[in-house]
């Protein structure tokens, strides 16, 4: 189909429908309310279900309920709302139900502000809820990638029977770019008859499916945790996605950056290249699993003197970058919060400062 000009939020809503998700529950919050607005109109047209919950806490458990029934289901929210849902996300991970969560991140902590931020990196990749679990986390850098990641999120959630998160930011939700909805990203839902609570007659089995996260017997819970761990290890082997930018040069410095911030960095890299300075970048597209090896190898390049993690947060991803680089090169952080996205000029100036220090 031809390209259409769409807001990121609307495009995410349409992508969910194209991915076969007909269940959407949400509570409005800036800067993602357009997803709910869009789907409240679109879902009835395709015989889908739209429910505005009474709170994000309730929405989290609506998602759990639909996922436990084996339905493709999604919610979208922004930072404070995702905090409220985090209890349910932990239960969903524990009960091994596939579900898609979209966080169009705004500034925090607390109510923070409504402008773009990447301050929920820790929450998305290191938990948020309690217990030993991870979500598979994808971070788009624009509207087209948000569409593709949303469409891929549903089959991935089913592959691992767990929550998958799209981590955007206010700019990706609010801006418009031309998009296409690739039909070939649609994947038939998996057969869930052996675990979902989809009704006796549909199951055709005498065994009762129970969806739960309570395992009081310590050995049983330990085995359950080991199973989850093995799935996270499988994600690390099979689902790591990243983009390398200008890394075929003898770059003097390596940037690690994701989402909106990485696009600002690309402009900075292009501008510096025009001035004769080569800077490389690794852009994680999955934040969990994290592209540890790609970053390690890119940092190890002889010409590279320094690694900088550039984020719209006070330094969160930088911890994973340090972990990946394993002390081979110095790793520092640069960023800004409060909705003030660093400009390409600010990034360029910081890079120059770092390189002067390393001379």
């Amino acid at each position: 189909m031809a390209k259409v000009l769409m807001k990121g939020n609307e495009a995410i809503g349409e992508a969910a429908i194209r991915a076969g998700c007909l269940n959407y529950f949400a509570y409005p919050i800036t800067p993602q309310s357009e997803v709910a607005e869009y789907l409240s109109k679109r879902l009835p047209e395709v015989n889908g279900v739209f429910v505005q919950g009474e709170s994000e806490v309730a929405v989290g458990y609506m998602i759990f309920g639909a996922a436990a029934c084996g339905e493709r289901v999604m919610t979208t929210s922004s930072s404070p709302g995702v905090s409220l849902m985090s209890e349910a996300i932990s239960y969903i991970a524990g009960a091994r139900c596939p579900a898609v969560f979209v966080n169009i991140v705004r500034g925090g902590p607390g109510l923070g502000g409504i402008l773009p931020s990447q301050g929920d990196y820790f929450q998305a990749t290191k938990g948020g809820g309690h217990g030993d679990y991870h979500m598979l986390v994808m971070a788009p850098d624009g509207v087209q990638e948000a569409v593709e990641m949303t469409m891929k999120a549903f089959p991935l959630a089913e592959k691992y029977r767990g929550p998958v998160m799209i981590l955007g930011d206010g700019l990706i939700g609010q801006m418009m770019e031309p998009v296409e909805f690739p039909d070939d990203l649609y994947v038939e839902p998996t057969n869930k008859d052996d675990w979902a609570t989809n009704g006796m007659e549909r199951r055709g089995s005498s065994t009762k499916n129970i969806v739960k996260s309570l395992y009081l017997d310590p050995a049983t819970l330990n085995n359950h945790n080991l199973l989850l761990k093995s799935q996270y290890e499988q994600m690390k082997r099979e689902e790591v996605r990243f983009e390398s930018y200008n890394t075929d040069t003898d770059y003097e410095l390596l940037i690690v950056s994701y989402g909106t911030m990485s696009r600002v960095c690309k402009t900075a890299i292009d501008n510096l290249k025009a001035e004769g300075l080569e800077i490389g970048m690794v852009r994680p597209q999955t934040l969990f699993p994290f592209p540890e090896k790609a970053i390690h190898d890119a940092a190890a390049k002889e010409s590279c003197k320094h690694v900088v993690s550039i984020e719209m947060s006070m330094g969160q991803m930088v911890e994973d970058v340090e972990r990946s680089v394993k002390g081979k090169k110095e790793v520092t952080w640069f960023g800004q919060c409060g909705g003030e996205v660093p400009t390409p000029e600010a990034v360029m100036e910081h890079i120059q400062t770092l390189l002067n220090q390393n001379q």
Binding site: I114, M175, M176, P178, R263, V264, T267, P344
Partner: protein, 179 residues
């Protein structure tokens, strides 16, 4: 080649729509395009601004400190943004509401009494169409024939508004041609 334009005015002037129409036209002519609204805790009558980036290759930063051009629909917008426009850019000034000028000699001022023209055509609401057509013609940022078609399709569901907006569009072209 990348060009950016910032549309600025107050809420209700159709700032976001005129920027969207320009972005549509750029997409239709095969360019890469990005439409970035300022979204904040704002209301009708508050400030509204929006940046459109048009490029022949993939667009990087959505954060634009110095746009190539500016369409200023009210006085605070001109006062706030006139100084950040790159040299040689077009600064469209809605002279119906803005009694001042840029005080710069390195930009091309395009003086358009958009509100007065719109009122004379029948509705002040089409001032944004006068502005976007005059700007597009003066700056050459998009093909004006494609822009005209985009405006028609935008108003397809409110067809009775198309003749008014086409008149507004033509008046914008005339102003640009005379400038």
């Amino acid at each position: 080649m990348q060009k950016e334009v910032m549309f600025a005015g107050f809420g209700g002037q159709g700032i976001l729509l005129s920027a969207k129409l320009l972005a549509y036209a750029a997409m239709k002519q095969g360019s890469q395009v990005m439409w970035i609204p300022s979204y904040g805790p704002e209301m009708r009558g508050g400030t509204a601004y929006c940046t459109v980036v048009v490029s022949d290759r993939l667009i990087g930063s959505p954060i634009i400190k110095n746009p190539a051009h500016l369409v200023a629909m009210n006085r605070p917008s001109l006062e706030k943004f006139a100084q950040v426009v790159k040299p040689n850019g077009v600064v469209m000034i809605n002279s119906s509401l803005i009694p001042v000028r840029t005080n710069r000699d390195d930009v091309q001022e395009l003086i358009v009494p958009a509100n007065e023209i719109a009122v004379s055509l029948g509705s002040v609401k089409c001032a944004n169409i006068v502005a976007v057509s005059a700007f597009a013609a003066k700056s050459g940022m998009v093909d004006v024939d494609i822009l005209r078609e985009c405006i028609k399709s935008e108003f397809a569901s409110k067809a009775k508004l198309i003749p008014l907006n086409m008149k507004a569009f033509d008046e914008g072209l005339k102003i640009a041609a005379a400038s």
